[in-house]
Amino acid sequence: MRLSCRIRGLTILLAMLASVGARAADAPAPPPDDADADTRVLLEDVTLSFGVDRKTGKPYADLDMHQRIRILREDGDSAASRSVSYRKGRSDVLRIEGSTTLPDGRVERLDPKDVTDSLAIPEDELFSDTRVKRFTLPLATKGAVLDYRYVQRDYELVGAFLERMGNAAPTDRVRFRVVVPQGAVVEHVVMRGNDPADLPPVESDLPDGARDRVWELSDVPGDIAEPFAPARSYSQILVMVALKSMPVDGRTFTGMPDLPALVAWVDARYREQSRPDKGLEAQARQILAEAGQPVEARDKARALYEWVQDHIRYVAVELGDGGWIPHAAGSVLATRYGDCKDKANLLAAMLRVVGIESVPVMVLTREGPVRRVVMPSRGRFNHAILGVRLGDALVLADPTSTTVPFGQLPAGDQDADIMVADPARPRMEHTPRDPAESSRKEERTDLQVLPDGSLAGTFAIRFVGAKAHAARASYRVRTPKSRKDYVKENLELTLDGLEIESCEPPVGTARDDTFELTGRLRGLAPVAWSGGTALVQARSLVGYSEASPSGDARRAAFQREWSSTETVRATVHFPHPARAVSRDWGGTREGVTGTYRWSGSVVDGALVVERSATFHPAQVGAADFGTVIAPVFRAVSASDAPLRVEFGGEVKP
């Protein structure tokens, strides 16, 4: 499940292309940092131009993409498989051509018959009119140079065009050229991550009165694939271009609207699709009747919100304007299914029936780092929720979630840019974030070492706050048969031969702020014996959340994206009462992105191992990694050492 609205047209295409792997070095040897690149992009040359279709009189944008890629290693052959997506009736791919130049100079061309055109329904949608043209350049062997070019025509000029000035592979040269027609107004913004970047275009006049704007970069590094490395969107420059207006046959064509116009457009579409009919009115009143006829507006809103959460199944159908305009509220009520905007719009219609006003709110959700919306347009948001007016307050409500209580937001909607589609006061806002302490995972295990060298006992995993909502939502969609696997995946404890013997059905309602799983488990004890001492691989009992530093990590930079707290405690009972544990196991480390604590002790003859971690979103550059982040990693590594438990006599299980 998740998110309905989709970044559309060329924006999705450009984002996709920017993420496609490609790399290489022409003649010179690649610089040391690119030693593990499979390919190197020798050239990426993109031209965006605008024109008018002579037959229909409609304006369009042509995106001419040309890439040249050298394959450095055998694994790089995957760069030969390319794809270009488009939406039927809204964009098209006019031309695809390509060739491979082999190391011996021979050139093999792409056969146009080998270009396939397939329906591309994203996994989280039921149906969509997005299609994709796929092709594979021939003879993509080590040392070969792949060269391809296509032109994509977009008939919807209401969004921004995005060009990421780099690739997953190191790139020798990337050039983005925009041809601005005479009299047209084209705006642009250049960003690096969430900040403006200083890369002005080189502008020049063309003979027909048009103007060229060109951005160009050389030697752009590629991705660094290591845990916690910031995404490329934080290191590479992004150029956003929007056509604001253009003269067409003596008239002025308006392209991407400004914020008030965009909000007015969204508001009008939502209003049109949320006109209550008699069935909807009756349903809204019945919901309130079943909720005991609440008097307060907030209680009414909550009842309707919960009903939509519980009874409207997430099903996304995105045809034509379906990516932007919700289906009519009455039809969503009739079928009992819809996507995020359908659910938000149905809720809006029901609220209106009971006299509560609301406004659509567009969200750029967080699926990792915070992403700021610059140049808001249709394609910059990927989710729709609702702002419910309760007195002077606008309460944000996301009925797509199935477990989040009214008045709270799921983690993905937090710390995110939103567009409040209130025609009276169009605006961009940023949602708040729950503190780490209120989004928790607490794990307790109580285990007995058995004579055969195994462990058996009970577990309890308790999620609190946003973690509870997310965990309950994931658990609900697992079949009862696979819920033991869910427990296994969520336990921090890792034992050889771990088996979940039983798991009690979780208690509580669908929207509780806590979610607890309990049951029994068994596995091999991570314990080595010698005389009156046992060595316990304590970290197997309490786990750890960090990727441990390994030899292949270079730690160019570090980024933590979410805030949360984890506390894990394992109590281990041995056949004989334990007397003491070694004092060299345990400690606390604090860094800008979190705090890590671990300890072992003997309580009432049992070994108690504890580990806790608190994480805060933060980003740390390469220069600070060694002093700020590395000590925490070293602490995690130190907790991998075994914990010595003394019994004061020769004992064995």
């Binding site: 149906f127 003879l139 079949t479 050889d496 030899g551 003394e646």
Partner: protein, 683 residues
């Protein structure tokens, strides 16, 4: 392995040598909605763990060959699914696939609520689109997509539709149960009396009932209360465990002529033969042999040269089927070859070099069932080349160029122990059917996975460790490792070992690193590294500990069937051997609990030892997994073997200074235990 249960009906219902008497066409295939009483799940708690249950599934197939030149196939699909839990709602989104030249008729779907309220899926909510459009391909797949309305636990989703194919599809097969249990499954297969139809049903004892309905020979079969086979990582293919059936049109008469579709294998292979031999023009168009003929080259050498070129040059595209076969020129032009294209190319190159070679088709071992008594190409999911004995080649030779770690004449595990249909690549001018023979491929088995690792360690009185680790990978494992290592960045393996040392030995630091990625099947991959640690793994004044957790090899967690495991298959045999030798501080007493154990079974053999002698600690672990497939009586061997391996991994060695005072031990020091083996057996 579990005994396969089989029901079978072969109907030769009047193979007419004269023209069939005129008959009226049978009535249309229709089905009605189920009665409300049929939609009730009597004991929902029995199925609750699946989230949903198929209350009813009906399949009716009509294989007709008498109307029109190519006949007709009608496939009626009717199903009712009860949603029991929110997790079952995923079954409410339906996709029906069909080809461009098929028709989807009488499509209807509805949601029946617990109170009997019905809501139908309206036509505007059914989306229909061509999935793949390729230049010149009008028969690509299309898809019909819809979501059931008003879905919640307690409803029943029911849908039905008829697929009409404009030709008599000669074979059809289906599993009776997928990921949901099925309360009732009805199968009806109908054909004309002039047709010989074979219906075979596997993994069940249920009988087929034969009747005549509407002038058609009708085979009916009902199964009740089917459970999905357990979802197990090491289980044999579903075709070997779950009930399924195949219907095959063997032959029919048209006028006075008997048309053989799959009476024998030459009929089943007819289209392959046409494509590759009698009508190979398109296949050979633009093709030019990539290898030059060498004057005086011995045939065996030519075979080897051609095999290695095909194995190593085109990029292997994975396992495919015959329908993916592209013309040879295309294979060469794109530099990519699938598991059918490689052998096809090799056979042609050998022919061009003057070597007689045939192609052979088989079902890869354990990838599904293969019933040679039902001649049909749908069984065949792999292709080999067989070079018959001829001048310069004294014995027939089997070649599998899809196996990237195999030499000429070597067979990977999936080619062993299965029968192959060899199709002779010679055909006369008028010959329509190929010559064939059923042969079990013979050749040197590809080397088993072999992994050897040895540690030699010295621990000083401060607990610092210096040591040497030597790793050898042989056979398939070595070949595959070397292949991926060569594709990786220089230094990637070294960095990986550095990571292992840092993780498993506190402050572990590499002093030297040697890498040899081997030289083909005969020379193993070898790594030797020397290292030291900055501090002890665990120590205190007067004592030093060395836990053996560094022996973690990944094998302790893999292949771990639990107590619910029903079936087990080991596809790739595996040999793992490991030795450890540790010397402690001079003059200190070593204390280690000896371990000695062996699991010796049909599937797995494991042997582990840990002990000390002359102040040196020695440990060894070995695990041998054999290729095979076993039922519940054998699965326990693997967890037992791996548990034994884990015992050594979880052990620890302790050295105590006899003149010092162990700091943390507050009780009396435990005496060192002698190894249990008698001295004579030590070396």
């Amino acid at each position: 392995m579990k005994r396969r249960r089989l029901a079978c009906a072969l109907l030769a219902t009047g193979v007419l040598l004269a023209a069939a008497p005129a008959r009226s066409a049978p009535s249309d295939l229709v089905t009605s909605w189920l009665a409300p009483s049929d939609l009730v799940v009597a004991e929902p708690q029995r199925y609750h763990e699946y989230g949903a249950v198929v209350v009813y599934r009906e399949r009716r197939i009509r294989m007709l060959n008498e109307w029109g030149a190519d006949g007709t196939t009608m496939i009626l699909d009717h199903a009712a699914i009860a949603i029991l839990d929110p997790s079952g709602q995923g079954h409410a989104n339906v996709r029906v696939w069909y080809r461009g030249d098929w028709k989807v008729r009488d499509f209807q779907a509805r949601t029946v609520a617990g109170d009997g309220t019905i809501q139908e899926v309206s036509p505007e909510n059914v989306y229909d689109e061509k999935v793949t459009a390729k230049a010149g391909d009008d028969e690509g797949w299309s898809i019909k997509v819809f979501a059931f309305p008003r879905v919640e636990p307690g409803v029943v989703l029911e849908y039905r539709y008829l697929l009409v194919l404009p030709y008599a599809r000669p074979q059809y097969w289906e599993y009776c149960v997928d990921d949901l249990p099925v309360i009732r499954y009805d199968l009806t297969v109908q054909t004309t009396p002039e047709t010989v139809l074979l219906l075979k049903i596997y993994n069940t004892r249920q009988k087929i009932v034969t009747t005549t309905e509407d002038g058609l020979v009708t085979l009916k079969w009902t199964l009740k209360d089917l459970r999905p086979p357990p979802d197990e990582t090491n289980a044999p293919a579903k075709q070997l465990r779950a009930p399924w059936w195949v219907a095959s049109m063997v032959q029919f008469t048209r006028g006075q002529r008997v048309i053989h579709l799959s009476t024998r294998w030459e009929h089943a292979l007819r289209w392959y033969f046409k494509r590759l031999v009698t009508d190979a023009g398109d296949d050979l168009k633009g093709y030019k042999c990539p290898l030059a003929k060498v004057d005086g080259e011995a045939p065996a050498r030519a075979v080897q040269r051609a095999f290695e070129w095909v194995r190593d040059t085109p990029v292997f595209q994975g396992f495919q089927d015959f329908s993916d076969l592209r013309p040879l020129a295309k294979t060469l032009k794109t530099g990519r070859a699938g598991s059918f294209e490689g052998p096809r190319l090799l056979q042609q190159i050998l022919a061009d070099l003057g070597i007689r070679a045939d192609v052979a088709f088989l079902r890869r071992w354990q990838s599904g069932a293969f019933d040679a008594t039902v001649p049909a190409t749908f069984w065949l999911n792999h292709m080999l080349v067989r070079v018959p004995a001829q001048a310069g080649i004294p014995e027939a030779l089997w070649l599998d160029p899809s196996c990237r770690y195999c030499a000429a004449g070597t067979l990977p595990f999936y080619d062993q122990g299965v029968d192959a249909v060899v199709m002779k690549m010679q055909g006369g001018v008028m010959q329509e059917l190929p010559d064939w023979e059923m042969v079990r491929p013979a050749g040197t088995p590809a080397n088993a996975d072999g992994f050897r690792r040895s540690f030699v360690l010295d621990v000083d009185a401060a607990g610092r460790t210096t040591g040497t680790l030597a790793v050898e990978m042989a056979g398939d494992e070595g070949e595959q490792h070397a292949r991926s290592a060569r594709d990786e960045a220089p230094g990637a393996q070294r960095r990986r070992f550095e990571g292992y040392l840092a993780h498993r030995f506190p402050g572990g630091k590499m002093l030297s690193f040697e890498e040899d990625l081997g030289g083909g099947p005969s020379r193993p991959v070898r790594y030797v590294l020397r290292f030291e640690t900055e501090r002890a793994t665990s120590s205190a004044p007067g004592e030093v500990w060395l836990p053996l957790g560094f022996l973690s090899s990944g094998r302790e967690r893999q292949s771990w069937p639990d107590q619910r495991t029903q079936n087990l298959v080991i596809r790739d045999p595996e040999e793992f051997q490991e030795t450890v030798e540790v010397r402690g501080p001079k003059g200190w007493e070593v204390r280690v609990d000896p371990i000695e154990g062996r699991v010796d079974g049909e599937v797995a053999t494991a042997e582990c030892r840990l002990g000390a002698e002359d102040g040196t600690v020695r440990a060894s672990r070995s695990l041998s997994l054999r290729r095979g497939s076993w039922g519940p009586d054998r699965y326990g061997e693997v967890p037992r073997a791996i548990a034994l391996m884990s015992r050594v991994k979880h052990a620890a060695v302790r050295w105590v200074d006899p003149h010092g005072v162990p700091a943390a031990a507050s009780g009396p020091a435990a005496p060192a235990r002698p190894a249990r083996r008698p001295p004579a057996a030590r070396r």
